[in-house]
């Protein structure tokens, strides 16, 4: 199989690319080399189902996703205009059926994304050669399928995927001890070395009896023995529980779950891929906002032909449409970037501005600093969605964009508008963004009750787990751990422990 189905780009798009690349560069955008490919909708759906990559390991969920995308397209419900992946060089796919003006818009948009991938700090630790890595993963999984059978491998992958969001997206950015960084490698080496214990007793070299004291000095042997004992103790301690609750449940399983070699490898593949995709989830609003900011700038100031104006306006506004139930990340992102640019252009920041009490004066505040452009480039470098919202969402912005928070009403079974207060909106938004709006779960104990059982804790912050999902997920976790698994959470306002022992589910108060 070939990794890329590269075809020569139509000359008119080639020209567009050159033109737009030049413009983007002049604005200071700094991107990887970008390779565009034109694909039909089926190919686009396939790539989208595969998360942007032409080759993934075999799994039915890609098929399910593809089925949904192609159906949605044929019923006219949805359409994917482009797709771009975070690699160096970057690959971007354009839909064949796009009109020229769409292609322009999309190419400009893509350069925004690629600039973001390259420069945003949260992407700094992603593997830029993921295209090869994914193909490599596919080859490995295929090999296991050939050896152990499709059903078995698939069932195991299903179980792994069920918990593939139990990772710690911040961990790649934290330099802990060497141990954490190479933990996966170590756990792999440990498996190998376990089976290769020397025969002569540890640390001792073979020697003639008269040389014994020179070749195997007793004090050295003793020291080694102590070190070994410590190491074993350490290993024993590691086995029983993490020192502090650990968010990277997948890593904990890699280190401590009784997995076969192929299972260990498959789980590490799933974990690698989860970490690769994590920053995209962490920066959705910023990334889309940034790309949209640049496509509008480039289109309206340079690339747009007057005859294309209506078409462009329609498509752009379609992308920016807002709805009461869902915050549009494109819209929120672009407006925040524009707001930041304006504020820093006019100097509407800092203590002097904050402390000004005169509304009228604040409104007309303009120190003509012209720092806006510089500021947004800085913002795109250092922030992620949470810090972005936390730092730059202002009461004025919320009011201007008619933002509100909504909450689920148990009695009516409807989501209802809860508040238009700035503080509450911001809190709700940050809540939704924290851990991608998913429950925070940590490993607390790997030797619960001294019976080798796994004990997780859900950090309850006011929203309970969806029960049926939790039970199924726990069952999948049980498959990996091979011993009973427990999760501490809150059910109906009471602290509860959900357990699964391999056959039965149990629920008891803590």
């Amino acid at each position: 199989m070939v990794v890329s189905t590269h075809r020569p780009l139509p000359p008119e798009i080639r020209d567009l690319q050159d033109e737009l690349e030049e413009i983007a560069r002049n604005y200071g955008l700094d991107f990887f080399e970008t390779i565009f490919e034109v694909v039909d909708y089926e190919e686009m759906s396939m790539l989208a189902a595969f998360g942007g990559f032409p080759i993934r390991y075999p799994h039915w969920r890609f098929g399910a996703e593809y089925d949904e995308l192609t159906k949605g397209y044929s019923y006219g419900l949805q359409k994917i205009y482009e797709m771009v992946i975070n690699t160096d060089p970057s690959y971007a796919y354009l839909l064949e059926a796009n009109e020229m003006v769409d292609q322009k818009l999309v190419i400009a948009h893509v350069y925004g994304h690629v600039d973001f991938f390259k420069n945003n700090a949260w992407f700094a630790h992603t593997n830029r050669r993921m295209l090869d890595q994914m193909a490599n993963h596919a080859a490995r999984v295929n090999r296991y399928i050939d050896r152990f059978g499709h059903e078995r491998v698939e069932e195991f992958i299903d179980a792994c995927l069920s918990i593939d969001d139990l990772i710690d997206p911040y961990s790649p950015h934290i330099k802990r001890s060497q141990k954490a960084a190479s933990a996966v490698k170590k756990s792999l080496e440990a498996r190998k070395s376990e089976s290769e214990q020397p025969e002569d007793g540890p640390g001792r070299f073979r020697s003639k009896s008269y040389m014994e004291n020179f070749i195997n000095p007793p004090d050295v042997l003793e020291q080694e023995a102590i070190a070994r004992a410590e190491k074993m103790q350490q290993a024993e301690a590691n086995r029983s529980f993490p020192n502090e609750p650990q968010r990277d449940v997948l890593l904990f399983l890699l280190e401590h779950a009784p997995l076969k070699d192929w299972q260990h490898d498959v789980l590490s593949i799933i974990r690698d891929e989860a970490y690769y995709f994590a920053p995209q989830g962490q920066t959705k609003i910023m990334n889309e906002g940034w790309a949209s900011y640049w496509h509008t700038t480039i289109m309206t100031r340079h690339a747009l032909d007057p005859s294309e104006f209506i078409c462009y306006a329609e498509h752009h506004s379609g992308t920016m449409a807002t709805s009461p139930q869902r915050l549009n990340p494109y819209k929120l992102g672009i407006e925040l970037f524009r707001d930041i640019e304006e504020r820093w252009d006019k100097g509407q920041f800092g203590p002097e501005y904050e402390n000004c009490d005169d509304i009228e004066e604040k409104k007309n505040w303009d120190k003509q600093l012209g720092l806006g452009r510089e500021k947004i480039f800085e913002v795109r470098r250092v922030h992620n969605d949470i810090t972005f919202i936390d730092t730059f969402l202002t009461p004025e912005f919320c009011a201007r964009h008619r933002m509100f928070s909504f909450a689920y009403n148990n009695a009516t079974e409807y989501y209802e508008i809860a508040s238009r207060e700035f503080y509450k909106i911001k809190k709700q938004l940050l809540d939704n963004l924290t851990n991608h709006g998913r429950p925070l779960i940590r490993v607390v104990d790997g030797n619960y009750g001294n019976r080798g059982e796994l004990y997780l804790r859900h950090d309850y912050v006011g929203v309970e787990l969806k029960q049926d999902y939790a039970r199924d997920t726990l069952a999948n976790l049980g498959k990996l751990w091979s011993r009973p698994v427990h999760i501490e959470t809150v059910v109906d306002d009471k602290e509860t422990i959900l357990s699964f022992d391999g056959t039965n589910h149990e629920m008891k108060p803590k």
């Binding site: 396939m46 595969f50 309970e464």
Partner: protein
């Protein structure tokens, strides 16, 4: 080039079909897809096929939106339990997937599940049905079949050869001799002819529940037999004290009252067979559904007619007795007296909807 995704798509489809297969008993018993009768494809809702994750529930959840509205104004409905991810604020809800299956596929699944043998049509391969195909041209025929193009061509040819065709004023006037008509030829087609005659007791003791059971069961019988024979013919007879031939729709919906005289239905069925389906050319299936309540004196007559006129004529005679709160259910006992002598006669008692599955197996398990 086959795309890599085909592999995953096929795998997904297989899983979906597996789900349908696992739940086939449920689908069989509930008449969910009956409304779609007559179409080649049925869509079946399949409970979510997805990978479970730890997720937040609805209680206490919320989000941020944009737009007008007062506090307390609803912005979206919460999702029903089991509907999947329901957080209006975060992710779009997953929809229940509908799988489209052809009736053939469904029949095949049913066949596999129930281990139904394929039917061997009784030795009538030689029987030819004739089909008319409009594939020739004649010089005479009704105006409605006139072939305009051919007629025009013919007239053009004639006028050119006569020299009366004027390029500057190209008016073509066809005469009677120019006219050409579409015509047919009879094409013999080898075919195993099959017919089903359904009989149902609609007397006062048959309630809607019982009729629902009959409906569901005959849908599946239909589906299976249709897979076995091309172009299967169906006839419907309802009876109380007297029998009527009705169309399919009426068959399922009529409700009458009055006494019960099963022999009237048998006579009717036989007359339909004689009229439409000469038994030596047709594979005939007779299904009778009743609550087993018959007018006592009629029983002897029934048995006589059955052994004399119906059983010798058909591949299979099936009697399904649905349990009714009113009927005595005696009739099956009468039939049991003769069932040993006729191996093409099958009796089945259907106590409730759950029994449909097994009853179908009883009926169709013989491969006749």
């Amino acid at each position: 080039m086959t795309r890599a995704i085909e592999r995953d798509l096929n795998r997904f489809r297989k899983i979906v079909k597996g789900k349908v297969r696992d739940n086939l008993r449920k689908y069989v018993t509930h008449g969910e897809m009956l409304g779609r009768k007559g179409r080649e494809i049925v869509s079946i809702p399949v409970p979510s096929i997805e990978i479970p994750h730890f997720r937040h529930g609805q209680k206490g959840s919320g989000g941020v939106g944009q737009g007008e509205g007062e506090d307390g104004q609803p912005v979206g409905k919460g999702q029903q339990e089991g509907d999947g991810q329901g957080q209006a604020g975060n992710e779009p809800g997953r929809h229940v997937r509908e799988v489209e299956l052809t009736l053939d596929e469904l029949a095949e699944m049913l066949g596999d599940e129930l281990e139904l043998p394929n039917i061997e049509p009784k030795g009538k391969e030689a029987v030819k049905s004739k089909k008319d195909k409009y594939n020739t041209i004649r010089q005479t025929g009704p105006d409605s079949l006139r072939h305009f193009k051919r007629t025009y061509k013919q007239a053009l040819k004639r006028q050119i050869s006569l020299g009366s065709y004027d390029v500057r004023n190209p008016v073509i006037v066809p005469t009677r001799d120019d006219e050409r008509f579409r015509s047919w030829k009879s094409v013999p087609e080898p075919q195993a002819n099959a017919a089903i005659v359904y009989m149902m007791d609609v007397s006062g003791s048959m309630t809607d529940d019982q009729k629902e059971i009959v409906r569901i069961e005959s849908f599946w019988i239909d589906t299976w037999l249709r897979k076995q024979y091309d172009g299967i013919q169906r006839r419907y007879v309802v009876h109380d004290a007297i029998a009527h031939e009705v169309d399919e729709d009426t068959f399922y919906r009529t409700r009458e009252s009055g006494g019960t005289r099963i022999s009237s239905a048998y006579t009717k069925a036989r007359s339909i067979i004689d009229r439409d389906f000469p038994p030596d050319e047709w594979n005939i299936y007779v299904f009778q559904f009743s609550d087993g309540d018959n007018w006592g004196e009629d029983n002897r007559e029934c048995l006589g007619y059955l052994t004399g006129n119906i059983l010798p004529a058909c591949n299979l005679f099936c009697y399904g007795q649905v349990e009714s709160p009113y009927g005595s259910g005696d009739f099956i006992r009468e039939l049991k007296k003769i069932t040993d002598k006729w191996e093409n006669m099958i009796l089945s008692e259907i106590d409730n909807k759950d029994a449909i599955y097994d009853s179908i197996k009883q009926f169709l398990g013989t491969g006749r």
